[in-house]
């Protein structure tokens, strides 16, 4: 029984553990054990999400034929379709349809609350979120999508060669706690994935979702919570810090176990509110806790994207704290 037992966040949840290698290691099994996201299109009839290149219905640099066009000065002579042109006097140029990949825009909450972990947790919420973001990025990258981060500092992911660099960048920025920035605005014509604990006030959460989904009317809202936040496994007299808009205030609860039922009711209500908000802006809502295995979490995302009903929640062990 080491001293660390008495010191939450002492080593296991130390933020400095959050490195690129840590992320890649944590993501490894989930990446291997989950189906390829490209199958989302073929396997299911009504996928919420389609993968791969999508024709833009205008000429461009795609693979498919779009139209013939008379040669004009300035056109590249190499583009002349000699077979077609041989049929007449006019030189025709063969134009192709402009094809473009989808952009996935991810937003990762880096608020101070995300650093929380109960002593029985393996990952802090921030760590869990970072690994999840990595898994999703990698999966989508393999289907050919562009990954961009709404958080300005985190670089996007475009090819497999960037994976390691991407993981490091993700780790580096997830280590820092940055409050929600107003400048984080979602990209139009993209698929937003918002990862946060969303424990803020409902008005704040609505603002966030509205701003970050940027009227795409699609996307994912992933709420990550620690099991401790959901079940309140504490006992006895505690001092708590209530953080409101701009002031923090301490208050004491003499017997925290007595408040458990009321608390869980409030938490559940909050979660339902968030789900409602997500649907309001056309997003899917996924609720995860850090005790859930990442493979299952990835599968949850997959099912949600494929339009399947969510699997029954597993692994949310209610860790009982003790004094």
């Amino acid at each position: 029984m080491a001293l660390s037992r008495f010191i939450p966040n002492a080593s296991k949840h130390n933020n400095h553990r959050l490195s690129g290698d840590f992320i890649m290691l944590g993501a490894e099994s989930a990446l291997a054990k989950t189906p390829d996201f490209t199958q989302l299109l073929s396997k299911f009839k009504t996928p919420y999400f389609t993968t791969g290149h999508q024709g833009q219905r205008r000429s461009g640099t795609g693979a498919d034929f779009w139209q013939y066009k008379e040669y004009q000065d300035g056109d590249n002579s190499q583009n002349i379709d000699w077979r077609k042109s041989a049929k007449g006097d006019t030189h025709y140029i063969r134009e192709r349809e402009w094809e473009k990949s989808q952009t996935i825009s991810i937003w990762l909450s880096r608020s101070r609350m995300m650093q929380f972990a109960h002593k029985s947790d393996d990952y802090s919420k921030a760590q869990y979120a970072a690994i999840l973001a990595y898994i999703l990025s990698a999966k989508f990258m393999l289907t050919g999508e562009h990954i961009k981060f709404i958080n300005a500092q985190i670089k996007g992911l475009h090819s497999a060669a960037q994976l390691q660099h991407f993981a490091h960048s993700l780790a580096e920025h997830s280590r820092k706690t940055v409050p929600y920035q107003k400048s984080d605005i979602g990209q139009a014509k993209s698929f937003p994935i918002l990862i946060s604990d969303f424990w803020e006030d409902l008005t704040v959460v609505e603002k966030q979702i509205k701003q970050l989904s940027a009227n795409n009317f699609r996307g994912l809202v992933i709420q990550i919570a620690s099991p401790a936040e959901l079940t309140l496994p504490y006992k006895g007299r505690v001092v708590l810090e209530s953080i409101s808009q701009d002031s923090a205030e301490n208050f004491t609860i003499s017997k925290i176990e007595d408040t458990k039922t009321a608390y869980i009711q409030r938490i559940n209500a909050h979660q339902r509110d968030i789900e409602r908000l997500a649907h309001k802006y056309g997003c899917q809502y996924i609720q995860l806790n850090t005790a859930r295995a990442l493979t299952s979490a990835t599968m949850d995302v997959y099912r949600s994207l494929a339009g399947l009903p969510p699997a029954s929640t597993q692994g949310a062990t209610s860790a009982e704290g003790e004094i």
Partner: protein, 938 residues
Amino acid sequence: MPFFAHLSFISPQILWCLFLLPLLWLVFKAIPPQPKMLNLPTARFLVGLETENAASDKLPWWLKLLRVILFAAIIIAAAAPYIKPHEDISIKGESLAIIFENSWAAAPHSDAQKDRALSLIALAEQQKKTILLIKTIADHEKQSRITLTTPSEARSMVEHIKLYPWKANHVSLLQDLKDNTDKLKAAKTFHWLGHGYDDGDLQSNIAYINKLGKVDYYKPDDNDTALAIKRALNAEGRESHKSIQIDGAFNDNKKALRITAKDQFNNVLSFLTLKDIKNNSDTDISALWDGIEMQDIAPSYLQAGTFKHAASVRYISANIIKQRVGIATANNTINREESPLIQSLYYLSKAVEGKAPYNIAPIDNLITWKATLIIIPENYALSANDTQTLTDWVENGGTLLRFPPDANIKQQSKTMMPVELLDDERNIAGRLDWQDPLTLGAIPEDSPLSGIAEDKTLEIKRQILATPAMSNTAASWALASDGTPLITAKDLGSGRIVLIHTQAKPGWSNLPLTGFFINTLHRIIDISTGARISIDRNTALSTDLENASFTPYKVINANGDLIAPPNELNAQTLQNIQSKPLSHSLWPGIYRSKNAEIIVNLGDKINAIRTIYPQQLKASIKPYIKERNVNLLPYFIALIICLILAEWLSVAILTGFTPMFKKTTAKPLSTLLLIGLSCLVFSSAALAQTDEGSDEAQRANSLNLAYIKSNNPIIDSMAEKGLRYVANALEGRTALYDVKVMGVSLASDELAFYPVLYWPFTSAALRDEEYAALNKYMNSGGMLFIDMRNGRKISQTLYNKNSELIKLGNHLSVPLLSPLPENHVLRKSYYLLSTENIAGRYRTGDIWIDLGNSASKNTPKEAQDSQYVARLLIGANDWIGLWSDENADIYEREKALRFAINLIMYALTGTYKQDQVHTKAILERLDKREQQLRGRNE
């Protein structure tokens, strides 16, 4: 449970607080436990969910127990627990023997002595034994010291035991013990309740009792041993009330001591704090007397230290204080152009100096200053006004001393003379005269001056004569050799007028240069108070005084108080008083004859205080306070600190190690306690660190008197003791300080630190390397002083080819030696020493000294010019024997000590005193000393 049987508390009342501890349990119940700090992101969902039942008794039981134990420990510690020593003596034999030392030195701790005796008696009563009580001084000379009695009687005897202000007579005590061996045999253990000093022959007494049974010697703590205040000699070698010696067991000799002057009602008149006093070294207490003389008051006694007992007080003759000498002067009578040596003022003041305070002022001032004797020098012209004042003053008891007036003021000065004078003075032994100068003639028996030694060197060349018909009231106190009066006196009222018929300056006679002049003046000063002559060792004795019978006036008891003499105390002769030891027939106190008074102080009768060294006695030494109580308070404080830390740690564990600064609500109970307690502990902790330098650095920093260790422990201890005495004297009398004594062994010690090396010679059988060390020492600037300690002349020793000295010479590189020249600087380096003064225990030996390398320089004349400092001195007078002997004659020991001081000074200053600059001072000293010697010897 022997532990709890001896557990006691200094303030046991506090233990009642232990009953409050259950209350504490309730208090802990009421106080909610320290809340945990919880950093929950969802905290805001808990707002408004507080429950009201705050009194949650969630403290673990063991923490409560810990706190209760902590408070219990604090309460017990506050009651100051200690463990009483274990004491049970089972008495062997039929009776218990108590030897009670009731001599003077027992005074400071007689209570402890009595307590010990009473507890022993109580023990004997329990075990139904008889008591054998032996007092070292019986209550009466005829009474036996030894009583065999029942415990209850013994108790009343001990309660009423009397201390006597003198030493016990150990010889007769031993005799008593031997005579009562039958009684003594009943006892197996003898409890000797001692006072820490050896009264005479403690060892043989204890050795005798040792044959009968076990001896427990109870020794008081050094702080409780008695100090004695003794007479001492002033710089001029005379006994003086301004100089004392302190003797006794000091704590490392460094204790500051307060000397207090008190009047007969024990009021403090003046005091002086002495620091760094040494045993037996003369201490100048002039500062004390300055204070007293300024206040114009008369102390009754001096007291050393705070405890008043027979030896710590020194009673003073009232005369010493009352005597005040005024020398009349007008502005025109001090001739500043003339050399002081031919002015009478100089001789008068020198003669008075040291005897009594004196003042040179106009007559009116002198009378307000309360002079008891006014001297009118020859050049003072009495005005009519003066005559009137002086007449009144003399009639009220003053003494006026007059000298023949100078020719120019003869007419004015005719009044106020004891006899009517002829107009012309008589010139004897002028250039055209055949007559020899007059000398001193007879001193009439009834003259107050009788007893003053006649001085054959006195030569009177001019004299003033009285008219042949002398008035009846006048009397001659001394006559010149031809029968003419030399000193005449006349009573006037209750005072008197004295006239010396020759002037007090060298022109008329050599009177002012003689000891007779000083003694005469002192005697006149003595009687100027109208009281008795007070006698001390300096007083010139007449047959009248020697035969007088001195009756006890007051005696000093063991508490140092003056009380009425006991009935059995008889009148004594001066001889007896001065020489006999104190006993029931001679108490210390004030003895008076018709016209003289002698004060016997106990301190002067104790030759030397010999402290008892435990290893000397064949007895087990025990302190009066049997065993010290074991104070448990420190242990309790340690326990409390441990408990506080434990409490703090457990609270920290329970609340999850939140950093201290983040805490806003409550702190662990222990934090405050810990802060308070650590303040307490640190404030009381003595942080003094003794940072001792290396041994050699210490030796280099102080003056070390070193002697060569022989293998003979007796010689070594003598050398140690003797040199310690010399070192104390050096510190007391010279500017040297921090003088240490070291025994060195030639083979192993570095000799370079010692300016002079004393070798109490035992044998010349030294190893070669030891001789090499000595040779190196002498050649590199050291001074080796060999004391052959046999009292023989060096030259005689040398005739014997087998003598140790010859053997010594074979190994030691002896420089050319010659006998100590008469004018050698060693004789004047500090004191002026003549040949007889270079005596140690023997007077017969001589000193040979190394006067330099060149053979031609062995004549005294050339030696004087030499700047050479001797490296080797050989003497044979056994100085160490005298330095170390506490019972030696005070004057003999003083001589030996002076030689030692000269030797050290010579070693340290070399030929400095050889310089002609000092000659004038030396000559003056020589002159004065001769006068004194003459005055004392005859």
